[in-house]
């Protein structure tokens, strides 16, 4: 277990620089977005007030409606772009976390496989490090939404502003609504599916690293089988059988299937790492 924590800390240290870059990038983009949207709103209001000879913001709001930070949430914009960049990095890293140590002039994987402790520690460290980065970036999102709201509120006068609860703000954005879901079931659904996908991906990579081209083909077949299994409850939901199963039964079936796939894939991946991988 100590080796696991050491390896996890080592992997996190390797991820520190890109993580910091992503934090700065996301923070700047999203806070600037709030700042610029607020200024645009105030400028627009001033322009209209001048044109229509209105004297107060209240008059403007009564005539044209209130401004809200939510206006910048319900459309494709910089917020989604910054989330997309973070997601793309984390996704890319889930693949590269194995290959970066295997390919190149200095095959660090050789050293990692020769550590005097179970190779399972390596497997779990490589799985949890990017997951921790992902959850940290989500936590950042959770912090940036209220900060952005505060910036917006400090620029747009309260007479012309309609404040909305943060849950409502998040719910308006199609991407944030999934990432920062309010419902436990939705959270488990999205993240359970995501983590299962990563564990299956690790199995595909380890099959490829063990048997090269044949392994890759077998891995792709394995991934296809996993997708088909996961699709069973969704398929049932679309078919006539949906009348004979309740929504709760289908949800339980879905969670049992992803737990089963994750368990089998994690066991298989660790077996490949311990007995079959070839450097």
């Amino acid at each position: 277990m100590t080796t696991y924590w050491k390896l996890l800390s080592f992997e996190l240290r390797r991820l520190l620089l890109p993580f910091c870059i992503l934090v700065v990038f996301t923070t700047v983009i999203q806070l600037y977005n709030a700042y610029s949207k607020a200024h645009k709103a105030v400028d627009y209001a001033n322009k209209i007030m001048k044109k229509e000879r209105l004297t107060t913001m209240e008059q403007y709001a009564n005539a044209h409606g209130y401004f809200s930070y939510s206006d910048s949430f319900n459309q494709l914009n910089w917020i989604i772009f910054s989330i997309f960049i973070c997601a793309a990095f984390v996704g890319f890293y889930f693949v590269m976390i194995w290959y970066r140590d295997t390919l190149g002039r200095h095959p660090f994987m050789t050293r990692l496989l020769m550590l005097p402790s179970s190779r399972n520690n390596l497997y779990w460290a490589k799985l949890t490090a990017p997951l921790l980065i992902m959850f940290s970036l989500l936590a950042l999102q959770q912090i940036l939404v209220p900060i952005g709201d505060s910036i917006y509120s400090s620029i747009v006068p309260s007479e012309a502003r309609q404040d909305v609860p943060l849950e409502f703000l998040i719910g308006l954005n199609p991407v944030l609504n999934i990432l920062l879901s309010n419902s436990y079931i939705d959270f488990l659904f999205y993240y359970g599916t995501g983590i299962t996908a990563v564990i299956v991906l690790f199995t595909v990579i380890l099959l490829e690293r063990s048997y090269r081209l044949y392994g890759l083909l077998a891995g792709l077949a394995y991934a296809a089988a996993a997708i088909l299994l996961i699709a069973i409850p969704l398929f049932l939901l679309q078919s006539d059988l949906r009348y004979s199963l309740t929504e709760i039964q289908l949800t339980i079936m879905y969670f049992v299937i992803i737990a089963l796939i994750s368990g089998v894939s994690a066991w298989f991946g660790q077996h490949l790492l311990a007995k079959k991988i070839s450097i």
């Binding site: 080796t3 200095h106 660090f108 050789t110 005097p116 402790s117 044949y214 070839s278």
Partner: protein, 229 residues
Amino acid sequence: MIELVDVKKRFGLKKVLQGVSFTAPRGAITCLTGLNGAGKTTILKAIMGLTPIQSGSIRIDGSAPHQAMYERIVYVSDQLTMPGRMRIADCFTFMQDYYRNWNSDRANELLARFQLNAADKVNSLSKGMAAKLNLLFGLAMDADYMLLDEPFSGVDIFSREEIAAVFSSEMVEGRGIILTTHEIKEIEHLLDYVVMLDHGRITKQFASEDMRMEEGKSVVDVMREVYKR
């Protein structure tokens, strides 16, 4: 003693090891020689569990290889096995963190001996310096066995002499060493056993002293006979 019995290994359809059997005793230097593709590196990797074998058995002091043995047996690859951006000093910290048998005093002693700089990054090292650092990683561990893959590969004559000198020093005394190399000349006098490989098969194995005494031939002479046939 490291013992291989009838070890077979395939990469796809290609047979890389075809029934390899030999023993490498502790306290002796065993050299695996052969032309490129003979299976030398694969043997070392198979012993270390870095590549699985199809059949046969590998035993280290009577037991099958397992993860905990990595403190008793150390593999020195022909490539540096540390991330390129790491400094040598960080590599030392890494080794100390994971290996209880890492000997920091010896590591620092070797660092000075090989004229390496602890602040240098791994990817800034020349081929010769990388080979010396690799050897350092092996020697700084208090291990019973050392497996060295081409320790002289791409190394200049002076570095080669420096590395060869290590094999006659007290640092390797009592350890079982298996090394693969084409550059026999510098270390021929230090070799106890020689295993000659060709296309995954052992063509000849002998004790070098016996060969000298009984047939009056050096290892290089035998290599010429075997590989020039």
